[in-house]
Structure formats: C-alpha cells, structure tokens
C-alpha cells in the first residue's frame, strides 16, 4: 500500500504522457516513414523538414514527452523488483538525471542540425 502510494503520481503522469504520445508518435512516424520520398529522409530532406519552426516545436515536445514516459516506465519496472524505500528514492533520482541528460542531448542535436540547415540555406541563397 505504501509502495502504491509512492508510485501513484508516476502512474498518473505515465498515463497522461502515454495518451499524448499516441498523437506525437503517430505524427513522428507518419512524417518520417509514410510521407517522405523513399520512406526515410536524407540529409537535405531533414534540413527542409526542420526549417519549419512548428515542426521543431513538435519534435521537441515529442522528445520531452517520450523521455518522461520512458523514464517513468523504467522506474516502474525497477520498482517491480521489490526495492526498499531508499533504493526506490535512488532509482527516482537516477531516472530524473538520465531523463534530463537525454532531453538536453536532444536539444543540442536539434539546435546543431537546425543551425547547420540555416547556414546551408544562407550559403545556397542567390
């Protein structure tokens, strides 16, 4: 009961992010696998795709939501191992750290690729 009480908020947010992911992941899969010519985007197509700010915002939202969902899932899986309260707190701190690093990495990657695209567009401009 005590364990259920501790993981209650995790379950709620996992449900909320899970429902959000149905839309965000659906959009991501359609955009990358079902719309792009040849099934997957080459570098030029990725740059063109990311030149739309709305797409960048959507992809960032997808990154944040999927990371939170994944980390809460890992936490729930590890809690199933029958850990002590102290170990559960350690697991929570660990998934928060890994999740934050994952999101920061995604930000860096999106920024780097978007900037490369802007530079490429500026170079090719008449």
């Amino acid at each position: 009961m005590q364990n259920r009480k501790r993981s209650g908020w995790g379950w709620f947010w996992q449900s909320v992010t899970g429902v959000a992911l149905i839309g965000l992941l659906g959009l991501h899969m359609v955009a990358h696998h079902f719309v792009a010519a040849g099934g997957l985007r080459d570098y030029q197509q990725v740059i063109e795709y990311l030149s739309n700010p709305l797409i960048v915002v959507t992809e960032i939202a997808f990154l944040i939501v999927v990371t939170i969902h994944a980390m809460l899932g890992v936490r729930a899986l590890l809690f199933d191992l029958g850990l002590t309260a102290r170990a559960e707190r350690m697991v929570t701190a660990l998934v928060i750290g890994v999740g934050a690093l994952t999101i920061l990495f995604g930000f860096w990657l999106t920024y780097t690729v978007t900037m490369q695209g802007s530079m490429l567009t500026a170079l090719l401009a008449p």
């Binding site: 379950w11 449900s15 899970g18 429902v19 992911l21 149905i22 992941l25 899969m29 696998h33 079902f34 010519a37 040849g38 099934g39 997957l40 985007r41 080459d42 570098y43 030029q44 990725v46 999927v66 990371t67 994944a70 899932g73 890992v74 899986l77 199933d80 191992l81 029958g82 850990l83 002590t84 102290r86 170990a87 350690m90 994952t102 990495f105 995604g106 990657l109 780097t112 690729v113 490369q116």
Partner: protein, 130 residues
C-alpha cells in the same frame, strides 16, 4: 547496504516466466513490459544514430541508403509492431486506471490487438512500398 525488501522473496517480474500464470491479463502485462523494454532500448539507439545528422550529409546519407534496404525496413516493421502493441495496450491500461471500461477490459484488449494487427499489416505494406 540492503536494497531489497526482506518480505519479498520472489521478485514480481519472475511471474513473467511462469507459464502457468499466462492468462490473458498476464499476457497483456508481459506484452506491455517487454515492448516497453524494447522501445526504451530503441529510443537510445535512435538518438545515437541521429548523432550522425550533426556530422552532415557525408555521414547521414550513406546510412539512409542502408536504412532503405529491405532487411532494415523489416526492423522498422518490428518497431511499428512494438509501438502499436505498447500504445494500444497502454491506452487500455490508462482507461482502466481511470476507471473506464474496467469490466470489459479483456474484450477491449483483444479488440485493440486486432486493431494493432490490422494497422501493422497496413503500415508494413506502406513501409515496403516506400
């Protein structure tokens, strides 16, 4: 430092491997967890692969040529299967967690898995058609 609760002699996850308990509810639970592990692993592989984008077209485009090969597209179909099973089964879990459809969750699970199978076939055809 003891990190395990002494009152738990068997870990709950060991039930995954106990075939005697593989009723529909347990199958749904195992499917949820197994697909979750696969999708978390995929997330990090995907991020690692995307790093090639930061190295420019000389790194990314040769990879895309490999990724368009039929054997690689089969991995995409496997990924789609994991997403559909986890997503639709997860939707059932979220609904029942909020008290919606609790009594009908077994037929709901079967119906959602049929939807997953149909969507997978359609998705696989689209992936291979290009």
């Amino acid at each position: 430092m003891n990190l395990y609760r002494p009152d738990l002699k068997r870990f709950r996850f060991l039930r995954w491997f106990d075939f005697r308990s593989w009723r529909l509810g347990m199958i749904a639970y195992i499917l949820n967890r197994v697909t979750a592990i696969g999708l978390v692993l995929y997330l990090y592989i995907h991020l690692a692969v995307l790093t090639m984008l930061a190295q420019g077209p000389s790194s990314w485009d040769p990879f895309i040529r490999i990724a368009r090969a039929p054997w690689f597209l089969a991995l995409d179909v496997l990924l789609l299967a994991g997403m559909l099973i986890h997503g639709l089964n997860g939707l059932r879990i979220a609904l029942t967690g909020f008290g919606i459809g609790v009594r009908g969750q077994k037929p709901l699970f079967v119906a959602l898995m049929i939807v997953a199978a149909v969507a997978l076939i359609a998705g696989a055809l689209k992936i291979f058609a290009g």
